[in-house]
Structure formats: C-alpha cells, structure tokens
Amino acid sequence: MSQTILQLSEINKRFDGVLALQGASFSVFAGEVHGLMGENGAGKSTLAKIIAGTIAADGGRFFVDGSPVTINDPHDAQRLGISIIYQELDLFPHLTVAENLAIGNRQFKERKFVRLADLDRFAEPFLEQVGLTCGPRCAVRSLSMGGRQLVAIARSLSMRARIILMDEPTSALFDDSVERLFNLVGALKQQGVAIVYVSHKMDEVFRVCDRVTVMRDGETIGTRAIQEVSSAELIRMMIGKEWQARDCKPAISNDETVLSFSDLTTAKLRDVSFDLRKGEVLGIAGLLGSGRSEIGAALMGLDRWKKGQIILRGEPASIKSVKKAMEAGIRWLPEDRKLDGLMMQMSILENGTISDLRPLSWFGFVSRQRERRAAMALFGSLSLKFASTSLPVGTLSGGNQQKVLLSRCLLGNPDIVFLDDPTRGIDVGAKEDIYRIIEQLASQGKGILLVSSELPELLRCCDRILVMREGTVAAELDAGHTTQEEILTLATHAPAQVGGPA
C-alpha cells in the first residue's frame, strides 16, 4: 500500500508583491514518480524550491511521513531526506565527482584533513547505483551534461534522500542520456525513493510518472493518475482553456538563395556547405558540440574563417564582427539567454532595443517616445506579457525573456535569423508562440536557421534539416521524409554504420 511520504498544505509565497503561490497543496507517495506540470510562471519551480528549503514559504504546512515539520533552509530539507536537482545543476565543475558528492553533505564525516581514500569510499556505491563509469576522481568538467546529471543524482542519493525533486531534468540532454535517466528513475522507484518530476514535456511525463499534479497561476489545480488522464486534459488544466496544437510548417519557400556556406572552415567547423533559401526554415540538428552553434558564431563574425566563404545574396561576404553581420541583415539568438543574451539588471525595454538604438535616437540622445513605440509594437506582435517595461528583465519568465531577445533581433528587420535552441526551458504556451513567430517570419520571406535539441520540434517546423557531426555536415534531410531515429543515427554514428546492426 502506498503511504504518503510528503504532504504540502496551503503553501503561500509572495515575491516583491507578486503572488507566486497561493494555497498550493499536494502529496507524494513513497516510491512514486509524481509529475508536476504547468506553464512557466505557474509556480512549479517555486514550489520545488520551497520543498527543498532554498526559499522559505510565507505560509502553509509541511508533513513528512505524516508528522508536521518545518523547512526553513536547505539544512532542514537535507535532514528530512529531501534533495533537489536543479535544471542548471549546481555542481562545482573544477572539483572531482567524489568531492562534489561530499561537499555540504551531512552524511560525509568531515575531518580536518581530507583523505582521498575516504572520498572514494564514500562516493563509489552511489556512482555504481546511478551507473556512472568514470570513477570518483574524474573532474566534473570533463563530463557531458548527461554524466553531470548522474553526478547530481548520485549526490542526492548520497544524502540519503528519500524524496528527490528533479527540475526539468532532460532539458539539456540529448536522447541517449534521456533513456539512461529514465532507467535510473525506474530503479530508484523500486527502492522506495519518491521522485517529484517537474517538467513541461508531455511525452516524458506520460512515460515515467505515476501521478501528475497540474499548477496554474500559483495554485494547484488538481492531481490525476496518469492512466486516467489524457494529454489534452492536462493541457486544458495547465492553460485553463481548449487549445489546439498547430502545425508550424511554413507556407512556400522560394527558390531564391539568400545565404550560402561554401566549404567554410573555422577552428571548430570543417568544410561546411549548405544553402538557405528565402522564406525557408533550415533546421540544424546534432549533439552538443557538433558544430551547431558554431555555425552561428561563424555567421556572426565571432569565429575567424580559416577557409571557405559565406555568400550573401549572391555576393561573397566579409563578416568580421557582430556589428558587420547585423549591418548585413543577419541577426541571432544566442544559446544561453542568461549568459549570452540578457542584461539582467537592465529593463525589459532596454534589453529589447539595445542593438538598434541609432535609428531611435537624435544625435546620440535616445528618443524615449520612439523607442517605446517601436518596442511595444514588437512586444505586442510576440505576445509578450509584462507588468511594466521598466522592470528588470530578470523578473520575466523564461519564455517571455526569450521573446525579449527575439524582439531585439527583429527590431533590426533582418533578412536572416539564426535561432539557437530558442525553446529550451520554456513552457508549452510560449513555445507555441515561438513556433507561430517562426512561421510568420518565414512567410515574410526571411531565411531562418533553427538549431534545436528537440527532434520533434525540428520535424515540425523545418523544411530541411542539416545534421551536424564533429564539426561538419553529416547529412541534409528533407523534414517531411525523415524520422527522429534517422536524425539521431546520423548525429551519432559515421555513415558507414547507418543501416547496420544498431
């Protein structure tokens, strides 16, 4: 019989006057995988952080194993056996795996002088449990995202966690690591560990979860057993109304080529060649590090071209800096919106207009009126939701932040747009908005390059898909006539092995 291991009742939380959680309540059984879904801003990350003690709730009660407890800080949570694995993985990249497990861990007996043998002995059983093969002494920074996530899970296990919260665990993983994760989750279930699985991804939730709780606008709308509910119903609970998925396939693509890469070689790319036509959406798939983002870097003049050419509207182009690229009508959306895109302390308005201030100014003085008008028009067309444009951009949800960056690109009215993983870590509603925008841009005749880790997204939105592997183009596929398996195979194996034994 499944017993309730964790119960939350009437949790409230206010940030800066905005109500983030209102009377949130739900409960988790031991040994179950409990999904937590909702749009961004619904409050799921906040709730997870409150359970983990990172943030303190303003009001409400907690019960662990039926007894009331208080959770005011991470120490309380750790003592109660609660552990959280963040989307961004709060590991120390310069330290070893074992050190990451031991730091701040009540289960590890700290002594004045740290003995490596002690660390190894402490870490090994948990590494085995999660299936990490590299050993306790390898540096975390040498691991892939998937490996790092296993380290994070091992750390939670080493804290004798009985409740593990996972916040968007697969957002940075490519498909094979995802499988590994699911297997691990299943194994943990068997051991009686309860897992709260925060995610946007419908198919994953249906795959691993036993029950799911949906949140909307800071409230818990309801909990359902996964066999008894449909994705349409979950979506209805998340956004509060009926909603239809739409195809984002662009209308027609012209035959006119706007951009060509011709044997382009940089430090990280080798002989990359492809064409982009007017009004076309060209997808770029591949593992992390295969050269997808590097195409953008080369296009924007950030990486030096060693060999080859870029041909723009028929003429060979010389792009030496980001400014030159922008002047040539190329804009881009960098991969990591927090590190590479936003100026977090500046306002929403300022972030949107920073690349195109000259046309909005008079002899160097920014015309607030003109700026406001231009930005609001663009924000409106992107369905950007905000309280006031003078608030710092950090107050927005991930999806809205991405829209601000998109505005920045589009304000300059570019001909070619390079989007690097634009829907990473954002919710369903905002994702659909972005797909709609991509469709619109294509129909306006812009050439779009779309890098993505989500294969279904690529198949949905693109005309053709470029598969990158190890810095070069492995294949060029027609999106209408290919499958996820084919793309994945091309991205991971050399051509001679395609079609051979898997």
Binding site: D16, Q345, I354, K385, S388, S390
Partner: protein, 339 residues
C-alpha cells in the same frame, strides 16, 4: 505573471525600477546624516546652527567638488565593470602641467589665450593618459585594476619628473599664473564646475546611447558583444573621460592651492570609489546612477564636516568613514534575494 495592482503607494514603490529605489534609499540616508549633523552642530553666537550656515554648506560643496568631479567619471568606469586607480596621479600631472605652462612659457600672448592654452594642455595630457589605459584595457584585454595601477605609478613618476619633484608655485601677483589662480579658485567657480559636469554626466548616462552601452557592457559583456555593441570603443571612451575629469579637477586644484604639485591627489581614487560605491553603484558593473554618486559624495562631505565641526580626531574620522562605507553597502545588499 500578474501585474501589480495600480494606485496604492505600496505598488508605486514596487513598480519603480529597482535602480530608482536604491537611489531613493541613498537620498534617505543622506537626509538622515544631515539631520544628525544638525543635531550635533555647535551653535554660533547668535544661536543659529553653524552646520546650516550658508557659508558652511557651500564650504562642504567646495570641499567635495574635486573628488566629486572625479567620481562622476569613476562611476562610468565602474559601471562598465572596470576601475581606475590612476585618477589621483592624473590629477597631479594635470596640476603640474598647467602650472608649468603658465609659469615657464612666456610667449607674450594675451592672458586669456595663455590661460586657455595652459588649461587645454593639462586637459589634453590628462585625457591622453586615460586613453592610454583605456586602449590597453580595450585592445589587449588586460585587467583594469592592473593597467590603472601601473598608470597610477607611472603617471605620478612622469609628473615628478616634469617638475623635478618640486612644486611649481603660482604666485599672488599680477602675472598670468596668478591671474589664472584668481579666476579659477573661487568657491563659485569650483562648485559651478561640479554642478555643470554632474548635469552633463547625468544626462550622458541616462539619455544617450553611450550611457546605455556603458551599462550594458558592465551588466553582461558577453551579451553586449553578441548584441553587436562596440565594446572596445565604449571602454576607450570611459577611461578617456576618467582622465579628462581628473585633469579638470587638477586644473581647479592648481588654482585653489596656488601650486602645481606632483604629490597631489594621493588617495583621491579611493575617495572617488568610496563615493561611487556608497551611492549604490556595484563594483561588478551594470547598476548605478549619477545621482547616486552625487549622493555618495555629499554623504561623505556632510559626515566629514559634521565630525570636524565637533573637532573629532582625524583618525577617528577615518575609522568612522570606513564604518559608513561598510554600512552603506550592507544596507544595499539588504532586501535582495538570491535569484
């Protein structure tokens, strides 16, 4: 996300940008210190508070003007995430150059032309010094702390070399040097320059493209690069402005003190940084206003004056100053949750 309810004062407080909120907090602190100064102020023979006498208040303004002018540009430098340790030495160089030109150069031109040229020479040399630091920082990507530290040492050496380590006296007579001093030393001139420059720089930061770029570069340099901003130019300009304003302060210093002094300005860079930091600008860059810097400058000025009117030992004065800086920064950190 729901937007906050409109209409009430509480929601107004929430809606104004975090930046303005910090400035209001600083102004409040300044007001508090002024009130304290009045309470502790000695009284004159006619019963009025000495602190509030117009003469005393303008004294304070004059006393903070030089460091205040330097702080304006230091604010810009710190906003880009950098720092300029060489401003004290540039001030010394500027005083030396202007005094040397006025006393040693006898071209027989009219006084106004000579004075103008001398001042321009000092400003040119100062701006060039700043530009040199800026170029090394922008082009070779060397850390500003290191580059301006080298500047601090080297530029003072240059000043000492130019004057053979002596002071260049500007007299009280009728010659061109004395006339220069008479014109520029007045309280009104000094305060006027500070106010004028403060307005210019406030407008520069809040209303111009350049001001936006400065904040963007300090906020997230990588993102600024990826957004196509001219990072190198911004940095070069910012350090050049720092040199220019230090030069300006140096010219005023030479007039006030009637001397070119290669040993002047020691520690001014730290006073400027203190004013900027108390005013709410963070050393990591991206966040700060000119009004905040002015408030920080005034806070130090009022505090020092309050202590001096009460004849507090100058060493205790320094300890109190240090304490205020810590307190000011701690108050700013208060109320900011970890994102």
């Amino acid at each position: 996300m729901k937007s906050a309810a409109a209409g009430s004062a509480a929601s107004f407080w929430r809606r104004i940008s975090a930046q303005n909120r910090d400035v209001l907090k600083s102004v409040g602190a300044l007001a508090a210190i002024c009130i304290l100064a009045v309470l502790l102020s000695p009284t004159a023979a006619n019963g009025s508070y000495i602190f509030l006498q117009l003469g005393n208040l303008t004294d304070i303004l004059r006393q903070v003007s030089l460091v205040g002018i330097i702080s304006l540009a230091m604010n810009f430098v710190i906003l880009t995430g950098g720092i300029d340790l060489s401003v004290g030495s540039i001030l010394a160089l500027s005083t030396t150059v202007v005094a040397l030109v006025l006393t040693k150069w006898q071209p027989g031109l009219s006084y106004s032309i000579e004075i103008t040229l001398a001042v321009l020479a000092a400003l040119a040399v100062s701006t060039a010094s700043g530009a040199l630091s800026g170029a090394v920082i922008a082009v070779f990507d060397v850390q500003p702390f290191v580059v301006t530290l080298a500047g601090m040492i080297g530029i003072r050496g240059l000043a000492k070399w130019l004057s053979s380590n002596a002071n260049v006296d500007v007299g009280f007579g009728q010659d061109v040097a004395s006339t220069f001093a008479a014109i520029f030393r007045g309280k009104a001139v000094t305060i006027g320059c500070y106010v004028a420059l403060a307005i210019v720089f406030a407008v520069l930061l809040s209303r111009t493209i350049f001001g936006r770029y400065v904040r963007a570069v300090g906020d997230n340099e990588r993102a600024a690069l990826y957004a196509g901003l001219p990072i190198r130019q911004v940095k070069l300009w910012v350090y050049s402005l720092s040199g220019l304003l230090a030069g300006f302060a140096g010219v005023l210093y030479a007039a006030e003190n009637h001397q070119g002094n290669p040993n002047a300005g020691v520690g001014y860079e730290l006073d400027a940084i203190a004013a900027v930091v108390i005013g709410g600008t963070q050393l990591s860059g991206g966040k700060g206003t000119i009004l905040g810097t002015i408030v920080g400058t005034l806070m130090i000025g009022v505090l020092t004056n309050m202590l001096r009117l009460n004849n507090v030992d100058s060493n205790v004065e320094m300890m109190v100053k240090g304490g205020i800086i810590l307190l000011a920064v701690a108050v700013q950190k208060q109320g900011k949750h970890v994102r």
